[in-house]
């Protein structure tokens, strides 16, 4: 992506966003609410048209791709995916095969094998025959990821994939993405709220504020308490992870500045 700007409702939401994703990259996109993270992700997916700048996939401008071919390269997991409640998990994940199907749209046994593999990777093979409408938020999120994996993309864009997951599944989900990045060269751009997750699992962190990238680089470079404190307008501290040596960002606590128990400045 080069110099991408997006206007929504007459307001510039993303300004001059530039990012290169290489195979195997695991990049976290972080920043306060309203910083333009989700919009930047949607621009990267070709879901909003930038006012200026270009998004390229494999060197070809995203608008020049045939929709079906692009879907074989690039998959998106949105923030609160809509799912037809009566569909089984397996049928839902099989929708990821849409760009590969023929005229009448029937899956081949090879398609089903890929679906099963995606279910297995996302750790939801035991949910395969449950109806999507019966699932918890965390289970739905994993279904959405499995659906994206079934698309066999080279680039995966995820908008807060860990938002409704507990600690175990946050870990499993990001471990899975990491495994896919290292093992099969999947390039991931992940919008994350949790700076600790971003620091531990991602190789690169991009920090956005007010529509602009304010810092990009390794977790050590970007997860810098003074910078973050300014961007998030909240006092923060960095601890060092005892094993990885990577920074872990935490609230400064009651001693830093008056704020309520959720860490919101009062």
């Amino acid at each position: 992506m080069l110099g991408v700007s997006v206007d929504l409702g007459g307001r510039r939401v993303v300004d001059d966003f530039a990012l290169a994703l290489e195979p195997g990259d695991l990049v976290a996109l972080v920043g306060p609410n309203g910083a333009g993270k989700s919009t930047a992700l949607r621009a990267a997916a070709g879901l909003v048209k930038p006012a200026s700048g270009t998004v390229k996939v494999n060197g070809v401008a995203i608008g020049d791709w045939r929709a079906g071919d692009l879907a074989k390269k690039l998959a998106v997991v949105t923030q609160a995916p809509t799912m037809p409640p009566l569909f089984s998990v397996r049928a839902m994940v099989a929708l990821g095969r849409t760009p590969y199907l023929g005229l009448f749209g029937h899956e081949t046994s090879q398609d089903w094998a890929i679906v099963d593999e995606a279910l297995h990777r996302a750790g939801i093979d035991d949910l395969a025959n449950r109806r999507v409408g019966e699932l918890s938020g965390g289970e739905r999120q994993r279904v959405a990821i499995a659906r994206a994996l079934a698309q066999e993309p080279a680039v995966l864009l995820l908008d807060e994939p860990t938002a409704s997951l507990d600690l175990r599944y946050q870990d499993s989900t990001l471990s899975l993405l990491r495994e896919m990045a290292v093992g099969s060269g999947l390039a991931c751009l992940i919008v994350l709220h949790d700076l600790a997750l971003a620091g531990q699992f991602c190789d690169r962190v991009v920090l956005m504020s007010h529509g602009r990238i304010v810092a990009a680089g390794t977790p050590e470079q970007v997860l810098e308490p003074d910078l973050l404190a300014e961007v998030y307008e909240t006092p923060l501290r960095a601890l060092i992870h005892p094993e990885t040596g990577r920074p872990v960002i935490v609230h400064a606590g009651p001693s830093g500045r008056p704020h309520d128990e959720r860490g919101m400045p009062s």
């Binding site: 879901l47 990821g96 297995h120 035991d126």
Partner: protein, 366 residues
């Protein structure tokens, strides 16, 4: 990465899901295996019943003979042959074709609007088509009731205007709340019906023609009318069946559907235009027949699940069966008088609609 890092990964899952797929597949196979013979039996029985009762075996023999599949049984009289082949069969087949089309259109509208209550009748399409067709009938243009092409074209324009108007009235941003959609459909239907009534009043000489057709009527069915709708309807049904898989993907959010390579706007437009064309042709030939597009897809969904690749063809089969049965009811309940078939389907459909509405209010997944 070790298995311990993914505590939820099991290997038994593949076997479980494979079994689930087999269950669903065999259900679908049973649906076709029972649905198609049921349709054929209904067809023969419906053709056999009437003022002159004919042995269903004779009916079958007459049909097979005309299809050059078998010689005529010795017990068949010439009168029976005329009654079946010239009178009843066109009517029964037209009812079947209309039922199939309304049900498939209903399933398609439900898919494209992501609204389980959508039905060609309830979202105003049928009333719009009726207004269009009435305009054609009463217009000073050199058209008459049997000049089917004009009638269908006017009905199609009316249907498209109604579907667009309903959509715009009910739209909130880029989504349409299901109940708001139905309310807007009712409002558009009421306005279109008022227009139809007004046209009838202003053109008294045509009142009877319009009136008898408006409330669902197969009495004027003929082979020539059947042939005139068949190409449109067959093409529309084929397109809807082929779009089944894409209708599935449309059930996801707009962004997800787009990221799966669907050109969502184009796809939605294609489905709406196809379903509306099919509905308009049906309205032009048989008037307003409500609720078929609601009842049949719902029952099929309960029986065969939500996959539109199955749902649309099943709706075709069971929609045909349902309307042939309803038409049989309409002409036998108070025989020798007939009641319009639209009144019969409404009598069945309205309570069903209220039941669905209630379930939806209780937050159940339809």
């Amino acid at each position: 990465m070790s298995e311990a890092g993914r505590p939820w990964a099991t290997s038994a899952g593949a076997a479980i899901s494979a079994r689930g797929r087999v269950v669903i597949r065999s259900r679908v196979a049973a649906g076709y295996a029972l649905g198609i013979p049921l349709l054929l039996i209904t067809l023969v029985v419906a053709a056999s019943i009437g003022p002159v009762q004919i042995d269903p075996r004779n009916t079958a023999s007459i049909v097979l003979n005309h299809l050059h599949l078998a010689g005529l049984s010795g017990r068949v009289s010439g009168a029976e042959d005329v009654i079946i082949w010239q009178v009843r069969l066109p009517r029964v087949l037209t009812a079947g074709l209309v039922g199939a089309t309304l049900a498939a259109s209903g399933a398609s509208y439900q898919a494209v609007f992501r609204n389980p209550l959508a039905d060609p009748y309830l979202i105003g399409v049928a009333a719009g088509a009726a207004l269009g067709a009435t305009t054609a009938i009463v217009s000073p243009l050199p058209l008459d009731f049997y000049n089917f092409g004009y009638l269908a074209a006017f009905a199609f324009v009316g249907a498209m205007l109604a579907v667009g108007l309903t959509y715009e009235l009910a739209r909130v941003g880029r989504t349409i709340p299901p109940t708001a959609h139905i309310l807007a459909g009712v409002a558009v239907s009421a306005a279109a019906s008022a227009g139809t009534t007004l046209l009838m009043m202003l053109n008294e000489s045509r009142v009877l023609v319009v009136f008898s057709w408006l409330y669902g009527d197969f009495t004027t069915s003929s082979w020539s009318k059947l042939w005139s709708i068949l190409p449109y309807v067959a093409a529309a049904l084929l397109v809807l069946v082929m779009l089944g898989r894409r209708m599935n993907a449309l059930q996801l959010g707009e962004d997800e559907a787009k990221s799966l390579g669907l050109r969502v706007e184009r796809l939605k437009a294609a489905i709406i235009i196809t379903a509306s064309l099919a509905t308009a042709v049906c309205v032009a030939i048989s008037g307003l027949i409500g609720f078929v597009g609601l009842i049949v897809p719902h029952v099929c969904r309960m029986l065969f699940g939500p996959d539109h690749r199955v749902l649309v063809p099943m709706s075709i089969i069971f929609g045909a069966t349902f309307l042939i049965g309803s038409d049989l009811g309409a002409r036998t309940v108070i025989a020798p008088q007939e009641i319009p078939v639209g009144i019969l389907t409404a009598a069945i459909g309205a309570p069903f609609f209220l039941f669905l509405l209630r379930r939806q209010r209780q937050g159940m997944n339809l």
